[in-house]
Amino acid sequence: MAEVLVYVDHVDGAVRKPTLELLTLARRIGDPVAVALGAGAANTAATLAEHGAVKVLTDEAAEYADYLVVPKVDALQAAVEAVSAAGSLAAVLVPSSAEAKEIAARLALRIGSGVITDAVDVEADDKGPVATQSVFAASYSTKTRVSKGTPVITVKPNSAPVEAAPAAGTVEALSVTFSAQATGTKVTGRTPRESTGRPELTEAAIVVSGGRGVNGSENFSIIEALADSLGAAVGASRAAVDAGWYPHTNQVGQTGKSVSPQLYIANGISGAIQHRAGMQTSKTIVAVNKDAEAPIFDLVDYGVVGDLFEVVPQLTEEIKTRKG
């Protein structure tokens, strides 16, 4: 069977959930071979093996952390060459993070392949993998194929279930020669994001968001309390972020995170096209807004026209009571 390279997104050896989803998709196309780079790369192997990686190629060189993007492109290229030389390579799957998309694009250009970004599904077909994309703020759905070279496809979080599928996960050292460009952009400092203890926005099953209607950073505690009662991540509209009420890392929408949870609860958010672009593919959508004409109500499965300062705390209380 052909092999599929899967680029591993991990933090010091802890594999992030979207990578496990990629393994589910990769198994539809061929045998997943994972590529893990940087500090802790080898520690990813056990988790990757559990989810179907037949092989895990690792390299822990310092360059991956010290320079931007290009060293990782060099490594993926080396992996493409190694796998192609030994057998046949059906595709390269990469998570749709901002950085991984840049890596994917440069890799595709180098190996003479087409690239598809932000797929929400990948299926096998006689003519190679077919990717589904959601475009124009999710008003259209397209099916796209790579027509030249080895398909390089980036896949959005929450596009496939995480499945256990034990495989060998044999660890092999990847030998990488860095290109002249590799050291072009130095990372001179890095401040890790502080964990809030809540689920990662893009990975969460439930997202509770607040917008301009929340009216002040101090009031975001109402949104957080609802999120915590559901074990949800907290999101915000750009209006709330621009007002300085909530960090930009939590922004949902075109220039923030794109989320696709099982449940999205929008509070005091009007539903502008740029916001919808980041949440319209959520399975179930709920909104609380005092304006019955707000466009967000066109999307909802359930909407409450009312004051969020009344409705949200009551909802939180009710959830707590029911959960005991």
């Binding site: 998309k101 075109q254 959508i285």
Partner: protein, 261 residues
């Protein structure tokens, strides 16, 4: 020595209008209102600020697109850019990201540059990969997705807010930069700016000027194929209740029914 800045700007269909596909499954750009991609306004703004700081700088705005894309160039010129280049050729219709990066890279080289500044993503394609592709083609550092950027003594520095960390980056010029919408509000063109823009030079280049063969670009030269584009069915109308004091409880009831609680 003058700092030569090239800003890449894209002409896109208005996101608040009705965007759709043409029969050949390319984005319909004829039938819809277009404008300078809002996210590229941030690139023009940062170019203007960097030019202000430099002793001597010249800003060229560059677009690859149909006839109407001139509107995007005019807008950037009225914000304060010095001159413009419009790459236009019938054979460009349907070009994908890889192809567009070839055209941009050739045009940037022909124009001459020390610094390229792009937006974080186009508002129609939203791939966010062109700056990386252009850097790869030019063989210069990519310093992308910056929320803060500065240039001094031939070095570009900036802050990139990533998923798991915020990074400080640094590279020597020439380099390709992209900036996010966190980099600072873009200015509005002044009346004076709008008048001045009418007199600023707009050069037109076609594929031959850039020594690009027709089959390297366009729909046929594209390395990806769109098989189908279907309009998503409108979401089925949901239940909407007016809060009469029990709205929170009713919502909880719905969530229980959906097994979220």
């Amino acid at each position: 020595m003058s700092l030569r800045i090239v800003v890449t700007v894209k002409y896109v269909p208005d996101a608040t209008g009705d965007r759709h596909f043409a029969e050949d499954l390319t984005v319909d750009r004829d039938d819809v209102d277009g404008l300078l991609s809002e996210l590229d306004e941030y690139a023009v703004e940062q170019a203007l600020q960097i030019a202000d700081e430099a002793d001597d700088a010249e800003i060229t705005v560059l677009t690859v697109g149909p006839e109407d894309a001139k509107d995007a160039l005019r807008k950037a010129l009225s914000m304060g850019a010095d001159k413009a280049i419009h790459v236009e050729d019938d054979d460009l219709h349907g070009t994908d990201a890889i192809g567009t990066s070839l055209v941009l890279a050739k045009a940037i080289e022909k124009a001459g540059y020390d610094l390229v500044i792009s937006g974080m993503a186009s508002t129609d394609g939203t791939m966010g990969v062109l700056p990386a592709l252009v850097a790869e083609r030019l063989g210069v550092p990519q310093v992308t997705l910056l929320s803060e950027v500065s240039v001094a003594d031939g070095v570009v520095k900036g802050r990139r807010d990533g998923d798991t960390a915020s990074e400080q980056l640094e590279a020597s010029l020439p380099a390709v930069v992209s900036v996010t919408d966190q980099s600072g509000e873009a200015r509005y063109p002044s009346f004076k700016g709008i008048m001045a823009a009418k007199k600023k030079p707009v050069q037109s280049w076609d594929l031959e000027d850039l020594e690009i063969e027709a089959d390297e670009v366009g729909l046929d030269g594209s390395w990806t194929t769109v098989d189908s584009a279907t309009e998503r069915p409108a979401r089925t109308a949901g239940t909407i209740v007016k809060d009469e004091g029990e709205g929170g409880k009713q919502l909880a009831e719905f969530l229980v029914g959906q097994k979220f609680i």
